[in-house]
Symmetry: D2
Subunit: 374 residues, 4 copies
Amino acid sequence: MNTYGDMFRVTVFGESHGKAVGAVVDGCPANLPLSEEDIQKELNRRRPGQSIFSTPRKEEDKVELLSGIFDGKTTGAPICGMVYNKNMRPRDYSHLKDTPRPGHADLTYRLKYKNYDYRGGGRASGRITIGHVIGGAVAKKLLSYTYNIKIIGYTIKIGKICGDFSYYKNSEVFENEKSLERLIEIIESNSLRCPSMNEKEMEEYVLEAIKNKDSVGGVVEIVALNVPVGVGNPIFNKLNGELARALMSINAVKGVEIGVGFKAAEMFGSEMNDEIYFDEDKNIRFKTNNCGGILGGISCGTPIVLRIAVKPTPSIGKRQKTVNLKTLENVEIEIKGRHDPVIVPRVIPVAEAMVAITLADLMIKGGFIHPCSL
Amino acid sequence: MNTYGDMFRVTVFGESHGKAVGAVVDGCPANLPLSEEDIQKELNRRRPGQSIFSTPRKEEDKVELLSGIFDGKTTGAPICGMVYNKNMRPRDYSHLKDTPRPGHADLTYRLKYKNYDYRGGGRASGRITIGHVIGGAVAKKLLSYTYNIKIIGYTIKIGKICGDFSYYKNSEVFENEKSLERLIEIIESNSLRCPSMNEKEMEEYVLEAIKNKDSVGGVVEIVALNVPVGVGNPIFNKLNGELARALMSINAVKGVEIGVGFKAAEMFGSEMNDEIYFDEDKNIRFKTNNCGGILGGISCGTPIVLRIAVKPTPSIGKRQKTVNLKTLENVEIEIKGRHDPVIVPRVIPVAEAMVAITLADLMIKGGFIHPCSL
Amino acid sequence: MNTYGDMFRVTVFGESHGKAVGAVVDGCPANLPLSEEDIQKELNRRRPGQSIFSTPRKEEDKVELLSGIFDGKTTGAPICGMVYNKNMRPRDYSHLKDTPRPGHADLTYRLKYKNYDYRGGGRASGRITIGHVIGGAVAKKLLSYTYNIKIIGYTIKIGKICGDFSYYKNSEVFENEKSLERLIEIIESNSLRCPSMNEKEMEEYVLEAIKNKDSVGGVVEIVALNVPVGVGNPIFNKLNGELARALMSINAVKGVEIGVGFKAAEMFGSEMNDEIYFDEDKNIRFKTNNCGGILGGISCGTPIVLRIAVKPTPSIGKRQKTVNLKTLENVEIEIKGRHDPVIVPRVIPVAEAMVAITLADLMIKGGFIHPCSL
Amino acid sequence: MNTYGDMFRVTVFGESHGKAVGAVVDGCPANLPLSEEDIQKELNRRRPGQSIFSTPRKEEDKVELLSGIFDGKTTGAPICGMVYNKNMRPRDYSHLKDTPRPGHADLTYRLKYKNYDYRGGGRASGRITIGHVIGGAVAKKLLSYTYNIKIIGYTIKIGKICGDFSYYKNSEVFENEKSLERLIEIIESNSLRCPSMNEKEMEEYVLEAIKNKDSVGGVVEIVALNVPVGVGNPIFNKLNGELARALMSINAVKGVEIGVGFKAAEMFGSEMNDEIYFDEDKNIRFKTNNCGGILGGISCGTPIVLRIAVKPTPSIGKRQKTVNLKTLENVEIEIKGRHDPVIVPRVIPVAEAMVAITLADLMIKGGFIHPCSL
């Protein structure tokens, strides 16, 4: 349950206010150059406290690699990456001990396990995704090293504000190495990770919600470039199915779509089907990418395009109705603690990580990457 | 890859124009009353040739149970259910041998395996879902027998026509045993399995597409009732993640959402969070069900609500551009064969089956159903 | 529980006196030439009724392949192999319904599942190993086709009579293709599958036991030739561990040893360690093979050598004490039915099958055989 | 490959001379009282430097629990246990970089991964079993807490010296709580963990080997008491098969047997079959325990009895022949470093741990222990 993948396996552990959070990455082939810096750079993208839109909890999130590396390269042995928690304030949460926060997993964890580490959501905290990101950083390095695969996520909607993207219409931005780098720069320099024309409008939308002690959601698009043909399996372990499950492993995600996604329902077969043709060099090409890079559960060589619906952060300052499980009374609560008014931009590195882990696992299983040694 | 589930496991086999299709269901606890009739009734709902909206291929799809049952009850041994193919016309497909049909898995299977049983899509055919339905029928019986769980799917959108549902607004229809039965009757008596006021409009929409040698898609909603609190796992094997993967194992599905799904992106935290309260009998209740029955990956006791985007059938009579892999030329094809102008209503029993298999597996794993004996 | 393997997966089903027994083999790469004959030839080696030392139950055990083959080759889709039961006599067993036979699984199955198909041992019958052999036949073909791997089992002990093997002392017999074929001929033409000088003595030993309405056990050695270096995994999924588990999946096996096995306990390190050297062509060689082809859980290139202890058939004609679970009385039973006075020779094809399945799975996982296509 | 178990899962990591070794234990139900002391006490039994028969490497092996515990109890979240390496001397091994030590995994790891952390055997070091023991300590606590299961290992043979056990003949010692405790005391106070009459003779045997710069092997017996009826699965995941695989995951183990083991081969069916009877209280009993507590792969309620063959430590001071992989020459080596002349007594806590992990996993899967909460 805390391990993801069959051949490339990420096992995560830790609680929001426990001693440490981390991951053991097993099944990474030997001879991949890997350093703490490779992991740290992804953790920094996920780290809190970087803008007014994220929780003020201060955590350096400094990773230490404890195993699996020798002379700067992986050895095929499991890689343990560890981050010690520093800025813990468990007392912030003690008053919430018996009053499950609406929209949170407090209630379901408590009823399932009959023992709940309620400090900051314990195991259900977003902080736990540090493990996802550690695993994803190794996967990204592996995919980049072997196939030059790039996985890029960005916000396309915040609350009711849809992003305005001209570049998205033609996908050339993804085909040109330079414009791609520029795109990534724009995304990363932006507090909402939204490279759109109307990003300011989105920021104002969030500020308004902050004023109201409320939170907002959004939609994130993730694109994986350079995935070779043939990744994924027929029937039950389809590439899309595995990706959907991976992305749903992020607490806030309420929907996943591939390619045109829900719009497919409105299209005629003649519109939806992507025409196939040979280009001048007799490479197989598709005229459109409605399928989002996947046909019959197997990658077809075009960019993998995914979108996820991210719900608004459930932690809000507004008064909310809930129950007191001890007194058996209906009560009202106000959540103090520290939390993000919009989790969308911080979800992005986690979503990328899950896509990377899934691809790494399927590409090893599918014979694209040797399971033992590069 | 052809096995789904960890504790309740369904292994499917067979090709569209091979000798037989079927499934081995392993991990069903002993002492569940089970007959061929239980399976047949679900297969009949999936069977082709029932309305003008489905392929005219004539298949009785008669199941035979070969193992795992003794004195009318399961024994804990694997249950093999088999359907022999009858109305095979492999020659219908021989002209498509080298010209992959757009929107189909022909190309990706062929490139992945370098050997393709092209007859009727072979292994990628919708016919393969007979195995899913056999497994799902056993799972449904198990869930119904142990927890009175009901899984109900219906069409809510066909092409651009959204269903008009008054009953859907208030969920009482699901709480009253009688109105529920009436609803199921309406769904099953309807050629599009859409219990909406404007179902006729939808039918005309499809007929128009048929005239144009085209196909249409739609959206299906699946509801699971009486799922107890605590099903599903934190972090990586969330109930929503497992359900999403299960539903994506149906070829035509391009998106999955839970509860309010993509609408969550547009909501404020204060709108999205489902308020918790004690009812008069001190039962924990939720004022709304925006979360679709799942919090933190674990069921919370409200109905599980899922929606899937079903793409239009890729097999269409219209001329389409593709490639000839032998001559390396760009060509045009017209698909003859027999196919459904809209696959949406026939997807429903398959989607229900996958939801049932997923729930059965997670409920055994979660200690809700004893793994060996009822 | 009824599926073996991760990448090369065999799912077995059926009962001794049910309609059919069989297996679904999933994960066999595409483009392996495979026919019913390949399977049948292995099933014939396992079939009952071939000598006075095996049960007189008459079964043709004719296999039918229902899926996964196209134009004489595997397609990557699951291969279902089925054998219909013919010579069923369930009534032979009805008197044993409530009196579990000592040494059999009757009691444990019944207590575990609270529902027991007692007819001929039901699911615990040796007949179920037809599924193992179907899976093993596919695995053997795959291993032979890709690496010329040969898996050969033979009896080395019957009851207290140890085989007298001069050829076994020097392992040249395994290195010469011709002497190997001759060895296999001797094994297969022999009623106890024991290529020893004193095989007649063994036969008399068994005949004596038959006279006494008793049964005997023995020891089987299995050798796998041409396994490349590097198969198996460090730590938990060692090649020896996987093989031991695979062989223990045969009911009668009470012990497994690798290389010198239990004799290792008596040796000094300086005796046990196999010296390593370069031969004239700078190939790495070992002076001895005490390790049985495996070091640190990973194959080292020498023959894999395994031995299993096979207990005497628990079904004997002699009076035995047991309980009547209905009357709660201590009783005595005499087993009529049909059974083997010595199961050792019929265990051999099953043991070979399990070794083959294990190797196929580990070699696909280890990157030795491409998982999708040959 | 570094994870063991399906429902109760132990993931191990670390190298002999890396920063740390440890384990993540996932799937332990909530509400098990657990402290660092529970783990430490098992680690202390495995720790080096306790007698002249073990390596003089000085390691405190102090465990720190980083997650999964709240208020002294497990929460259902993964438990990470970590031991930092202290007394590292990687330079001891640099001269062995290119000369694989006979009997070790140096060669196979190196050929498999093409990158080898040779420092002290790296990942193949016995030190890695700290992770096994951490996992086993949690499993032992769980088994003891829920079913009062006790797992006891002891040496029964050292080199050619068989232990002389009068108490072993009648199994009363295991049935009396007091005599059992006394037995454990004797085992633990003894440098070879052998509670036999002739233990001194064994010690002298080892001292003689030490003088000769050689090492010796032995046989260990492990008994699991109070395992309920019904643990384990028919066909492929038999209790014996799982235990055999678990025990083979210890590098030095070359053979595993259950009950009478290899002696079964020599017995007649009438001797081997354990008679069943009702005792005065109508409990089902067996007159003998030849089956070692397992029938048809499922526990039958009698003590589980296992024996493993432990090979002599491959690290010996004597000159040995091997190859230099760089110069491609045949060479001789002498292993300096620090190592155990006999590994048998230190294997015992590891073997017990693997038995405990296996039982915990199978008992959760079999519905004996609730997977979520005690």
